[in-house]
Every structure is written in structure tokens, then in C-alpha cells.
Symmetry: D2
Subunit: 348 residues, 4 copies
């Protein structure tokens, strides 16, 4: 770990990070890590020269390189952030950990559970932080949901229903589940303590390359809790909605709302009398609705701080490798289920 | 077929109908059938005396009875409308057909495919009309969707995605799929010509009686068309939305909108240049949107007329027994799939 | 006051009412008054024979007549409900009061303040109930707003802003203010205790008869409270929205929402720090939002009961003649202001 | 006009601009002007040292100064962009024009019509471009409205109704009309050719300094066209909606919609038969609705290009001084009307 210029005065060491891959998400990573005291974004690596030029014109103090292997022996680099296509997460992550670097992987963690487990073992052995950028876990909306659930406010959690559909760019390498569902699966994993038992999934491809652009996933539990995911790149309307049903109250998270993202519905109203029953048929809402004020913090900043805190203070980050692994387990099983006609696939 | 009082002057025969079951839907049936020239609602049968009193005070000219068997030998009754719980559709429908009556069954048609097939055979043998009250097929919104698809306007149909969720009364006898999905499955059957190959379904029950209050259903085809249904009695928000995706345009049917129920999205815009691709990432709509003016006719009136026309003119109704049977086939297979952990069940 | 058949057993007298005018609102009046114990709808008067036939076929027990003068000497009639065009309210109301009947007038009360005052004097002299059917005052939404204001929950009331616009039928006899604004003005009068000092209004007519189809009205007070009304028959979108701003909280009443009609915004959050100020620029909502569950009672039933209670028990109805008079005062002044180029017109 | 480094090769002269005032809007101005070929943002002037530091760290190549007078004798500066509080627009604009600079003023143009006229005269005399940054005129939504109106598609324009309300920062120097209405008034001026005859306005202040935080403005014409503006800093909901009614079709511009900002309603459907009339009472939409795809260009870039083109090519910009002057005329008259109890104030 490199020490800052004023290390004698400031006992806090300075962390140098390198970012591999400067695509769509790259500028956000540079900006958010740069904003953290004690962190310096030292280097950005990308194979595309025009992307490196973009780094240079916007962040003149950041070094650039098209050679990722230059990082491993660079003792001034403490941590590597890997924001490249998913199939490269494992080989790059492995090299970085072997070189003694802390590692932050973009979501999804890796392309297989086996690869994820290997990286985890290596991180534990090397005593390095291994974390996955599940940015959504740091949004004020998801934090509020976590708080509402943990407080017991909504009662026992009964179901989780997520829809993430829009008219999107068709990916070349992964299907719609691997592209969109990591957000929602990691939120499920964060909010609900019970581990899933199995999955069923169906998908369809309307593209010549056979990659599914629409997919449906059910995650099953031994209790009577059930989760469902509807993912599509082919919807004319953009919907990002999540329902979390408790036996007292229910939460709706509508991420398309600019500020009123979370709504808490009081649904515990007992319907007993004949008159009540008839009324419910026409009036679909049973109790009051409450829309909490949310903070307006940027989620990515919280994620970056959590990574840095894990390195400096040894804290366990919210988006830990466990979160990453649990997400991959479901995705891999879903893939198998799709290939086998929606067959139930157990999760180890 | 009974002839009217002025049969000598009016060559059109008068049809007498009896309605069995005067629950939630009963008053609508009486009102709509009464509004048809050449139809007389002659009798309403219900076991509950307070329901019969409701008939008498609102429709003094309609006879009432608590004895359904009084209908079979009543030669003045031409047609029987059966609006009772689903498990009684088969025995009552059978008696009515055997007695030579035309039969209109509330949806879903019967509780099993076997029962449906028996009634169909009987109707064909007796040369009587057998029809199912899939009222939704007569709504201006569904008629407009049919027209948009048949005209080739949306291109080849690629997927069908339906969500019908709300906070509802828990049924005692059927699960949420049998309660809510008949609407959407009959619409699918009406809009799409290809026959389904198989289904997968998962459900969960949060009620002591084990009846599923949330269920997800995928209907699979040998082509790359896919249909999905999300049904719930346990959602704090009421959503009734259907997406029908073509390779040129896509339809959104939002039944919660008071008038703008159908939206047609032009999604055929080719995304080819690099600039275009980047733009799509932020702008989720590709082309114009068109919201057609819909008629404001009452669907139930159209259904009633279609039944009467089938009796008088021998026309094939939109909500024919084929529509009813195809719907039941999917529901029965879905039930099996739920019981077998979401296993793919072929449709005969 | 006529006594019921079982008057010996039941000390409550039976009230007989007559309804003059059986147009759009007529069936609702008959249905709601008939539903009140102790009330009998004895007679309906209308000049149009087809409307009288509609009464007879739907309510066989109600007498019909095309001669309104038959009511005045009919001692069995206790109260008269006048649901005719506004310019007839005064002559019919006068005759009814002179004949010793209680009178309920459709809104707006009369066509001039002078006429309203005459009727009020007469009612006081004759000791009869004179009331105006401002149905909106009995809706659960308006009752909830009244309760939120009276409880001090929203603090000192600062402004009232109402928009009631749609694509409507052009009226032949009154302009858009007289047609639409009585709803909102009577709500203003109900919610706010301060009496208005003056009005300004502008309007425009796009119709050959010169009747305004769009009009804007400001109601001014000696305090720094201000009310504004936007009324139009020429809007392609239907908006029925009311904002009531307090210095602690603000209410939004959106009558186009099926159930979530009332929203209470916590806006008392103090914005002091530089950081806060910057945040407010991008985040337009300051605190939590609360959507109270509303009753699902029919407003017209509450209005009818209030009229009957005023007759039987001498209670002061919510929609009293004061409410009617205050509404007319503003409408009449608004009319004058429109004719004088928006000039400020004092309210006596 | 300064010539570029490679002026011998490139015949296009390079324009150097200075920006006075680096507040909320400043970074957007620097970014958009920097993006124009042939334009160099040479200098930013601000009195606040922390704002100048912000310039330096983000745009190292831009000179900074806290002395605005340093601009006037700087022959390398061709154009000055004045983004300071409105009361300084006149003195700074005057100095800039006298020094022979082209001038772009932030909206509103000046604090009085007299000041605006003086600047216009000076610009004409000096033959310099004088323009106002009415950015909204360059948005794809407003351009589309202009096109729909000019094509005759909506027929004769009948009314204009604008609502711009939210929970905003209270300004220290100008009231809500001067802060918010310039957007909408400049759009009105752009869309409609007829010149306004008079205004009426009412406002209210809930703040100790007497500055109106809510105001209503009617703009009157000699024809039967009418415009209305509802402006508020005290609304719990953010509404930015504009209705433009023609006698064939009507436009709704909802700026809170992320992409579907413009809706075109076909309202020319003739309502003649009795049945139609009754239907209109319940169905508020008469014809089809069309939502055109809008470009996703940044409006400020279009404004900047228009200014540069006016300098280089002598074109008349959309947001010309005429647009600025017409907007100020209405604002000044509105202010007078507010002070005189809503009295009608003629526009010279």
C-alpha cells in the first residue's frame, strides 16, 4: 500500500487503483473513485486507443496503457477494478489476485460458478478483498427496502417479483438474463436471508445468434417464499418495477419514478364482513400508502467507499463476493434450466 | 324455439333464456340479454333466496326458481346460461345439452379438458350451440389488437406477455391461474394462430388451503414465439397489462387506462450506425407511438349478441367452444406443471 | 309531513319528496333518495314524455307528471328537489317555498345573487330547509381534505389552485365557469374560513353564441391567501386536480386517480445549508408523501341524508344555502369581471 | 474577429467568446460553446474566486478573471455571453456592445423594456448580434410544436395554456413570473404570430420580502385567441405542461415525460347525433392520439450554434432580440397588472 505525500502527518495510507476497461461505465468509476479522499486513480487500461485518449483529455493526471499485464508487477497499484466483458473477469481477476492486488469485479462476477469459487479461494488465501460492483445495493431505494424489511415493518416476506424490460441493445456475448438480472438477483440476495433451493427458467431468442432476448426466471425456496424475474430487451415500454410482499405490508420499487421510487402499502387490513368483502372487489387498495423521502446520494460513490473501507479497515462490504457468488449460482442454474425446457434445477 | 306473441307479424322467433346463478356477474347477464331484441330472459335460478329476491325487485317480469332441474323439461326455454362455480359447469351443461338447450358457460369452460370434450361432443351430436363467455374477446381493445395483428401491421408476432395482478379476494375453489388467466389465455388463443406445444408453471400458496395465490405460466411453441402470464391476488398495485411484440411494431394493452388502452409502438427503426447504437442506450423508444380511438361498446352485449346470432343464424361465435377448450387445455397443463415443480408439460 | 303506514309504531315521520327534472342526474337522485329509510320518492315531474317513461319503467311505484304546478297544492309532498336548468331554479324554488315545501336545488343555486337572497329570505320566513346539491362536499376526498386542514396538520392555508378541464359538451345556457367551477368554488368555501374580497376573471369564447368555453378565475383575499380556478371545455386531456398549500404540508387532490385521490406532502423541511439548497434544485420533493385510505361511500347518498336530517332534525347541512350563496357570489362577480376585461370586482 | 492559428489554411475565422457569470448555467455554456468548431471559450469572468477555481480545474485552457472590465478593450474577444443576475444585463450588455462585441444575454433579456430597447438600438447601430438565450426554443419538443402548427395540422390556434409549478428555491431578486415564465412566454411568442394586446396578472407573496412566489397571467389578443400562465415555486408536485389548442387538433407538451413529451390529439371529430353527445359525456377523448418520436439533440448546443451562425453568416437567430423583447414586454406589463389588482394593462 502506497503512502501519501504527507504520510508523516496523515496516518491514513493512500490507495492507488487501476481500472481495466474504459467503456460505458468507466468514466463513472474514475469520477467516483477520484472523489474519495485517500484514493488515487493511477492508471486506466484499455485496448482501444480512442478510449485511452478520452481518459487523457478528461483526466490528464491519470496514466493510460493498452497493456493489462503492465499492472501485475506494478507495486504502486494496490487495487484493480475490472470493468471488461464478463468472460474476462476470471482470467484478469486471477492474475490480479495472484499479483497481490485487491479486486473489484463488474457485475456479474464471473461467467461460471466454478470460476467464481476459484477467485474466492484465491482471495481468501491471499487475504485480499474481492468484491463485485452490484451498484444497486447502494441505491437509497434498495437501502430503504432493506431497512423496511429488517425492521419487521412489512412482516414475513412472502414473495419477490421483478420486471426489468425495455427496448435495448442486443448484447453479443451474454443473454438478457446475464445482462439484466444480476441487478435484481443481487437485490433479492441482499433483502432475503433464505437461500434458494432451485430455479426454473424459460427464454426465447429472436436473433440469429440464438442468444435469448426475453427470459423468465422463477427462484424457488423450501419455504413458501417465491421469487420471479421478467427480463426483456424487446419491450417497447421501459419498466423497472419490483414488488416485495410481506404479510403485513408490501413494497413497490418503481425505478422509473424520478423521486417517488419506494411505496409502502398497508395491506394488513382484515377483510372479514360481507360488506368489506364486496368492497374489496371494487377497491383494490386496502390501506394507506406511504412514500418515504429518499436520500439523493449517488450509489456508485457508496460502492466505491465500501470497497475502500474493506481494504483499509477490513470491513465486509455489502456487495461482497458472497453476493456475487449467490447471483452467479442462480444465473448459471437458470441457463441450464433454459437449455432443458424449463426443468427445475437445484442450486448447490 | 318459442315464437313471439306477434309471431304472425314478426318472422323472427323469440328466444327464451334461463340464467343459472345470480352472483356478481348475474345482473350484467340479465341486463345485456334483456337488451337484445328477440330475446327474453325468462327465468333465473339460484339456490340463495336473497339472490332471487334481488332478481324479483329489479326485474319483476323475470321468473325465479331455486330448482335448476325445473329447466330441463321446460319446452319454452331455448338456451341456458350457466354462471355457477366452475366445477358445476360440466354436470349442468350436460343436462342442459341433453335437454336440447343451447348452452353458454361462464369462463373457464369446465374444470377439466375431459369434461370440456364431453360437452363438445354432446353439443355436436345434439346440433346445439355451445359457447363460453370469454367477454374480453368482445372488448374494443382486444378487437383492435386482433385487427392490428391480422392486417400485418405489427409484422410477425414474436411474444405475448401478460400481467394481471391485484389485491383480490381469495377464491375458495380455484387457484389464481384458473381465476385470472382465462381472460388472458383466451386473448392469446384469439390473437395468435399457432397452437401451443407445452407449458411450464410455478406457483405458491400463502393460504392454509394450499390454493396458489401467485402463479407464473410460460406457454411454449415450436416456433420462436413465447407467451408468459403473471397472475397474482397478492399485489398491492393493480396491473392489467399485455405486451404483444411483432418484428415491426409492438402493442401495449393497458386495461387500467380509462380510454387510452391500446398503444402501438413503431419499433422497426433499424439501429445500425455507431451513433444510433449509443443513442438507444439512453433513449428507450425508437419510433412514433400511436394511440387509436376505441369504440365504447359494452363487451358483454357483443358476447350476448354473438350467442344469439349463433343460435338464430348458425354463425360461429368468436368465443366458441374451441376458444374455451384451448384455454382449458393450457390451464390443465399448467396445473400439472405446478404440481411437478415447473416441469414442461406437453399439450395434446 | 306525512306519517308512515306504521306511524303508530314508528315515531319517525315519512318524508315524501318530488323531483323536478329527470335528466342526466335524475336517476341518481331517485336511487339515492329511495335508499333512505323514511323517505319516499313520490313523484317525478318532467316536460319530456320519454323521460317520464324512463321513470315508469325503472321505478314503477313513482308517480309521474308533466305539470310542475300539480306539486304546490299537493299536501302529501314535503320536499321538492329541483334538478332543472339553472335559470328555472329561482321561479320553481320560490313557488315551492311559498307552498311550504323544503327545497333542494341542483348546483349552482340560482342564476343571480339577488335571486338566491330572495329564496333564502323566503326559506327563513317559512322556516323551511333550503339546500344546494354541492355533491362534491360529501365525497370522501373532500371530507379528508377538510379533516387535514381543520386538524392543523397542514398549517396555515396559503393557496388553493384548481384545474378542471376536459373535452366537454358545450352548454347552451351557461358558460364554462357556471358549469364547472361551482364544484371547486363550493369546495374552497367549505375548506377555507376566510371570506373572499374580490375576483378577477378572463374568458374566451370559440363558439358563435359567445358563451365562454375557457375561463380563468382568481379569488382574492385581504390576507395573503389566493385561490385560482382553471376551467375549460376544450382541453384534450381531462384534468381534475386541486392543490391546497399550507405552510407545513400541502395536499394534492387528483380526482382522476381511481383510489389514490388525496396525497399529503410534507413540505416543511427547512432548507438552510448550502448543500440543501443545491439539492432542492434537482430534487423537487422535500419530505415524505402520505396517501390516506379513503372511504368508498357514495357522495350523493351523504348529501341526500344531510337534506333529510335537516328536515327531520333541524341540523345545518354542509351544503347549506350559505354554501350555495357564497358560490353564486363568486360566479356573478367573475361574470362581471370577464365582461370588464378582467377588472377586479369586489364581493359584497 | 480573431483568425485561427491555421487561418491561412482554414478560411473560416475563429470566434473567441467570453462568459460573464459562472453559476448554475455556466458549465453548460462552456461545454456547449467549446463543442462548436470555430469557437474558442477564451475567458470566464466571475466575482467569486471559488467559481473561477472550478473553471480552472475543469477547463485548464480557459482564462479566468474577476474583472469584467478587462473584456471591453480585449480585441481578441469577439462575443460576450452574459449569464449574470437580470438587473446587470443592461449595464453589462451596453458596455459589451459599445466595445463592439456580439452579445448573448441569459433570459430574461433585461429588467425593463426601456433597457431592452436601448440595447437593441445600440446593437443595430453597431451592427452586432444581440440575442437572448431562450434555450427552450431549441428543444426538439418545441421545434416539433412549431412544425405541427406551421403545417396547418392543428388548424387555427385557439388557446395556449401553460403550467410551470414546483417546489423551488425562492429567488432573492425576481418574482416567480420573471423566473419561470420567460420560458413559456418565449415559446408562445415563437409559436403564435399574432401580437398580444394586453395582460392581466395576479400574484401572491408568502415571503417577508414581498416577492411573489405564485402568479397567474392571462395574455389577451384582439382575436379570440387567449394565453394563460400558471407559475409557482410553492407546488408540492412538479408540473411542466403546455396545451396548445387548434380547431382541428390539440397539442399537449408534458416536459416531465422522459421521451413522450409531445402528444397530438385529434379533436375535430364532429359530435352531432344524440348518441354521440351522450357518449362524449363519459368518453373524454374524441379521436386518435399520436406521439411523435423526437430528436435527442441538446437544445443548448442548437442555441449556441444559432448565435455563432448569426455572427458568422448574418442569419437571424430563432431567439433573436425580438423574441427577448416580446417576452419582456409581457413580463413588465404583468408586473404592473399585479401591482394594480389584476387590472388589464395594454402592451404597447
Amino acid at each position: 500500500m502506497a503512502f501519501g505525500i504527507f504520510a508523516g502527518l496523515n496516518t491514513q495510507p493512500m490507495i492507488n487503483v487501476a481500472i481495466v476497461g474504459f467503456g460505458y461505465w468507466g468514466p463513472n468509476l474514475v469520477r467516483n473513485f477520484s472523489a474519495i479522499k485517500d484514493v488515487r486513480v493511477k492508471k486506466v487500461v484499455d485496448l482501444r486507443s480512442e478510449r485511452l485518449q478520452a481518459v487523457q483529455s478528461n483526466y490528464p493526471s491519470v496514466e493510460v496503457s493498452n497493456d493489462v499485464d503492465s499492472l501485475w508487477n506494478d507495486a504502486t497499484i494496490d487495487a484493480v477494478i475490472i470493468a471488461t466483458p464478463v468472460f474476462t473477469h476470471y482470467p484478469l481477476g486471477k492474475k490480479a489476485l495472484e499479483a497481490g492486488k485487491h479486486v473489484l469485479l463488474e457485475k456479474p462476477m464471473t461467467d461460471t460458478v466454478e470460476h467464481a469459487n476459484e477467485l474466492i479461494e484465491l482471495a481468501l488465501k491471499k487475504n485480499k478483498v474481492l468484491m463485485v460492483d452490484h451498484t444497486f445495493l447502494y441505491t437509497p431505494a434498495v437501502r430503504k427496502m432493506k431497512q423496511l424489511i429488517d425492521s419487521g415493518d412489512i412482516g414475513a416476506v412472502r414473495y419477490f417479483d421483478s420486471t426489468r424490460i425495455n427496448l435495448g441493445l442486443i448484447q453479443q456475448d451474454v443473454n438478457v438474463l446475464w445482462d439484466l438480472a444480476p441487478h435484481d438477483i443481487s437485490i433479492l440476495d441482499y433483502l432475503v436471508n433464505e437461500m434458494p433451493a432451485s430455479v426454473n427458467a424459460r427464454g426465447v431468442s429472436h436473433i440469429h445468434n440464438g442468444i435469448e432476448n426475453i427470459a423468465y426466471l422463477t427462484v424457488n425456496y423450501t419455504s413458501n417464499f417465491l421469487a420471479h424475474f421478467n427480463c426483456s430487451w424487446s419491450s417497447p415500454v421501459k419498466i423497472r418495477m419490483m414488488l416485495v410482499g410481506g404479510d403485513k405490508k408490501m413494497i413497490v420499487f418503481n425505478d422509473m419514478e424520478p423521486t417517488e421510487k419506494i411505496r409502502l402499502y398497508d395491506t394488513a387490513h382484515s377483510v372479514s364482513s360481507e360488506e368489506d368483502k364486496r368492497r374489496v372487489l371494487v377497491d383494490y387498495r386496502v390501506g394507506d400508502v406511504y412514500i418515504p423521502k429518499l436520500d439523493s446520494k449517488e450509489a456508485l460513490g457508496g460502492m466505491a467507499s465500501d470497497f475502500v473501507s474493506a481494504i483499509l479497515n477490513g470491513t465486509t462490504p455489502i456487495a461482497s463476493w458472497k453476493s456475487g457468488l449467490n447471483t452467479i449460482k442462480i444465473l448459471e442454474a437458470a441457463q441450464q434450466s433454459i437449455k432443458q425446457g424449463g426443468k427445475e434445477i437445484n442450486i448447490a
